[in-house]
Symmetry: C2
Subunit: 376 residues, 2 copies
Amino acid sequence: MKSIPLILMGCGGVGRQLLQHIVSCRSLHAKQGVRLRLVGVCDSKSLVVASDVFTMDLDDAFLAEVCRVKLNGSSLLTLSNFGQCEVFSNTESMEKVTEIAARLGKSTGLALVDCSASSETTGVIRKVIDLGCCVVLANKKPLTSSMEDYDKLVSHPRRIRHESTVGAGLPVIASLNRMLSSGDPIHRLIGSLSGTLGYVMSEVEDGKPFSQVVKAAKALGYTEPDPRDDLSGMDVARKALILSRLLGRRINLDRINIESLYPKEMAPNVIPVEDFLLNGLPLLDKGIQERVQKASSNGNVLRYVCVIEESRCEVGIQELPKNSALGRLRGSDNVLEIYSRCYSEQPLVIQGAGAGNDTTAAGVLADIIDIQDLFS
Amino acid sequence: MKSIPLILMGCGGVGRQLLQHIVSCRSLHAKQGVRLRLVGVCDSKSLVVASDVFTMDLDDAFLAEVCRVKLNGSSLLTLSNFGQCEVFSNTESMEKVTEIAARLGKSTGLALVDCSASSETTGVIRKVIDLGCCVVLANKKPLTSSMEDYDKLVSHPRRIRHESTVGAGLPVIASLNRMLSSGDPIHRLIGSLSGTLGYVMSEVEDGKPFSQVVKAAKALGYTEPDPRDDLSGMDVARKALILSRLLGRRINLDRINIESLYPKEMAPNVIPVEDFLLNGLPLLDKGIQERVQKASSNGNVLRYVCVIEESRCEVGIQELPKNSALGRLRGSDNVLEIYSRCYSEQPLVIQGAGAGNDTTAAGVLADIIDIQDLFS
């Protein structure tokens, strides 16, 4: 039986779902000769580690308890029984993870799994890679900071996986990596990579006012608590940057043209969210409606997309043919069209649900299983 | 630098293209720290092997010469200069491959790459797997023979890859494997997996007579020399069997319901191909036309698809909604819709060119690069 020691950073929706998937896949993975061994779990406040990372792991009952506590929005520190675990505070935890990586890296190996949304994990991830360990990311931040950080993270490309940073569990990164490694040069990527903005753009296409659609999306739980976090385009821009860098472009986030769906005067640092929803949003209806109508009169539809082509990397609204894969998109599905030498006239299209804890965690788990050959 | 010794079986269109891809990707792969080392190449008549498989390989000039000879339709035996290679006849070659696998399997490892269309490679593949080596297949035959053979082939699942057996280089198998390994159970697969039949069905939808469309497809080089090899549905059935077995169904080819697009009286063992094209085919026009019209009156279109669902595995014409991914399919693209827990309402859709030597060989090459962690 091959054993893969794991440390999970981030026990929000995705991290919790990952723990549940790992437990429910125990017998499936045993049949494949693999055992995932959780040796540590951390949230923003603390790190819980098995007292001997070589011989012990956090058992399934303990992981269930972690999920229960985190589902209630509590900290790991509120766990009622730490059993034989050690607990470290926020200030010590990254150092402790590095120490474990140094010890396990030389013998059994270790996979550090980042399901947080923090930009503060980059440092420990860099160290862990240096120590010969593997990294699996759902967190976009470490891959979208400086080029220096990025180069370090991908310095051993087989030891880092990050499928769930783009399109949740959709096999986007895996497919692009396959194409790149087979020498099929990618000329152009165009995709709708935000379920939220995909939903918004297909609803306004039907004539509904932008403000109403955004409020409905918020009510459905499709948006962040402040919908401007989606409407700013920053999340899509991070995905676009990850894809651009995967294709070899050496650019930073500030090199991406990003169209925000609200003006500067309505930014979070200018007006509060309630004010934005009540008074700001309705002012945007007319502009969007006019653009929808203009597109429609050209036989086109509007989509909020990322376009990567040669040195160009743009994120924003584009007029697209109604009968393209992107134009036909409805609801919150993601879609990516890939043009390359092998897919030159018609693109390779990957489409499906691109959000949700279940599919995001499934993508992380598939990545973990996919690095098994690096473990003894 | 990691070195992956390879033996290529089959130097037809795909095998030749693979050799060209390998040579043109030399510097790309060197950057990734990988070197693909061709130690042997065989066609149906003979095997050419480097005289010392541990220290030597077939150099790029020699591989170019192999491609030139095979493009002319000649046998490897007609090569003008064998340099330091050894040549073995058809009768000795499989034994020699096994012998090399036994020697390399214990030390550097070996990947046996089957780009032939032969059912006679199954024996040597079984042996090579037993000897600890890897196998990459574009050939569907070994995976579609008996369950006993299949079980043997996948007995070490990490050591066998076969992306290009379904949908050419489209990331179908890789994506399904990711889903399966993350415990996302697949409920239903429906796909158009024949570029030829995809083209035929979308052309008859436009009102063109079936017989004319088939002849046009033949003229365009979309069909086999005898179009009945496509119209029988057997090629799609083999792909359906590979997908079914991947999902864990223990069935053989004879358990698949296959709809042939010509009747028994027009089979190859009854009438010659010229007779079929001239006199047989036109008799089928009316039936197809009526079915197209009936579907159209229901707002549907006809597609030649494979459907895999619970114990059901069918290959044939189905009426499908015009506005589904399958219904919208035009031309020779392949498309696969995957329904699972994560993709339950809307499927995960993978679409793109599913035929052609370039993309098929690219899929094989991506598989080879993907097993690199199994080599030292």
